[in-house]
């Protein structure tokens, strides 16, 4: 699956919490190894569909989760097939 958006964080704790928050809100989201171009800081990032971008940003702000940036970035989630198979 190609995700159109990626949120990067300073701390992995915040990436974990954001993934939970989005999933609880019914927004498809997934923790991914952060691509170097967008996530130099904590190694993991949260991928989401770009059409959900306004909602994602609002959720993070409401929950006062510290994030580095929201990127419009095509991320091919290679792990999905691998995980589905395991």
């Amino acid at each position: 699956m190609i995700w159109g958006g990626v949120v990067s964080f300073f701390a992995s704790e915040h990436a974990m919490r954001s993934e939970r928050l989005m999933q609880r809100a019914g927004i498809p989201a997934r923790l991914v190894p952060g691509p170097r171009e967008v996530s130099p800081n904590c190694g993991v990032a949260v991928a989401f569909r770009w059409e959900d971008e306004p909602e994602v940003e609002q959720l993070l702000k409401d929950a006062k989760i510290r994030f580095e940036a929201v990127h419009h970035f095509d991320l091919d989630d290679g792990l999905t097939a691998e995980e589905a198979a395991s």
Partner: protein, 395 residues
């Protein structure tokens, strides 16, 4: 012989349902290092630790999980808070009921000439503390650091922690609470309490595994970490990250313990800490009623354990408490803790130094039958001592 474990104030046993399962599940399905790598087992570990932090934040009323720092025990949490906040002032004010995990870091700061220590006397039997004196000691032109235990680890008596916190807040004085004996045993809302920092073990009333502790730092409290090192974040920088929780959590976390602690927090949220407290109070009353007519018994602490954290301390006349502890363990399987409980000042103020007391402490799993066995054991030991000649030869 049945195990009658009445030493929950040292560490709780057994742990509630779900803790062992969570640990096993972690080993099977996670097991990577938290916050380090991008592979599945690392991410699964990070998710599990993050969920545990969230559950604990909910249980304790923290504004955000970022305000909770994982430590290896309450002692580390207290050291982090005291050494971190002492940088703000040169005067420390505390009570006569503190544990050595408060007194030793303070005495070291005093030895280094970095602070003076004022000790306000608190009554180990009633919990009474002169609030005017507390306020007077906190007053002063220079900044100060106040520290108080929520409940005595010797008698279980509660201090008026909200009043102490309010007086400290009025004076803009940093305030550290040692919640070692209260966390998980009486409802605690760290946000409502308004202390600068609240330290607690994960392995006592919070029912997690040993090797776990927590420090709640109120929003806006930013202190020096105890140690610095790898956090998995900002790896390109050779200086410590300045954001919580990473700033305070260098090195690989005790993920296995934290995951168990998270499962324990889930259990406590389900049963309700208020109902745990009600049960502990019931057990304290049953025990005190049972032992109060034993000839030669002296019970320390509140006359009525109305708000009990599940601790009763006592002594039998003419028999050292360490001997009583050994006898009731050997013959009845009753496990307690005798001695000074790392709180020499509290025992001095109770008049029980240097021998100390015999401390009984209950947990969520303690049964009425456990209490009755302990009462029977004490009664028999006391009877034998009275019938023996000369007195005390029972040892």
């Amino acid at each position: 012989m049945r195990d009658v474990y009445l030493d929950n104030a040292a560490t709780s046993w057994p742990k509630p349902p779900g803790v062992l399962e969570a640990i096993t599940d972690f080993f099977q399905h996670a097991g990577g290092n938290t916050g380090r790598s991008g592979h599945r087992r690392s991410i699964a570990s990070s998710r599990a630790v993050s969920l545990a932090r969230e559950r604990l934040a909910d249980l304790l009323g923290a504004e955000t999980p970022d305000d909770l720092v994982f430590t290896k025990n309450a002692t580390e949490a207290l050291n982090l808070a005291i050494l971190g906040l002492a940088a703000r002032g040169t005067r420390a004010v505390t009570t006569s009921l503190e544990h050595n995990s408060v007194m030793r870091p303070l005495r070291e700061l005093e030895r280094q000439g970095r602070c003076s220590i004022d000790i306000v006397r608190a009554d180990g039997n009633t919990g009474e503390i002169d609030l005017d004196e507390w306020a007077a000691r906190l007053d002063g032109p220079d900044a100060c650091l106040a520290i108080a235990t929520h409940a005595s680890n010797v008698t279980g008596v509660l201090l008026p922690i909200r009043e102490l916190a309010a007086i400290a807040a009025e004076r803009n004085c940093a305030f550290v609470v040692d919640a070692s004996q209260s966390a998980g045993h009486i409802p605690l809302d760290v946000t409502a309490l308004g202390a600068s920092a609240v330290a607690m073990p994960g392995h006592k009333g919070l029912l997690g595994p040993s090797g776990t502790g927590l420090l709640h730092l109120s929003p806006g409290i930013d202190i020096e970490p105890l140690i610095r090192g790898g956090t998995g974040s900002q790896s390109e920088l050779e200086v410590q990250p300045d954001f919580a929780p990473d700033k305070y959590e260098s090195g690989t976390l005790n993920a296995i313990g934290i995951v168990g602690l998270g499962a324990a927090a889930e259990y406590l949220a389900e049963v309700g800490v208020a109902s745990v407290q009600a049960r502990l109070t019931e057990l304290s009353r049953r025990f005190v009623e049972g032992v109060s007519d034993i000839p030669g018994v002296t019970i320390y602490g509140p006359a009525d354990p109305g708000d009990s954290v599940g601790i009763v301390s006592l002594n039998l006349e003419a028999i050292p408490c360490a001997t009583v502890a050994r006898l009731i363990d050997d013959e009845w399987g009753v496990m307690t803790r005798a001695g000074l409980h790392c709180s020499p000042a509290a025992h001095r103020s109770l008049g029980t130094a240097p021998d100390g007391t015999l401390r009984f402490s209950w947990g969520f799993d303690t049964s009425n039958e456990d209490i009755d066995i302990a009462v029977e054991a004490l009664r028999t030991v006391a009877d034998r001592s009275r019938n023996a000649t000369p007195a005390g030869s029972v040892a």
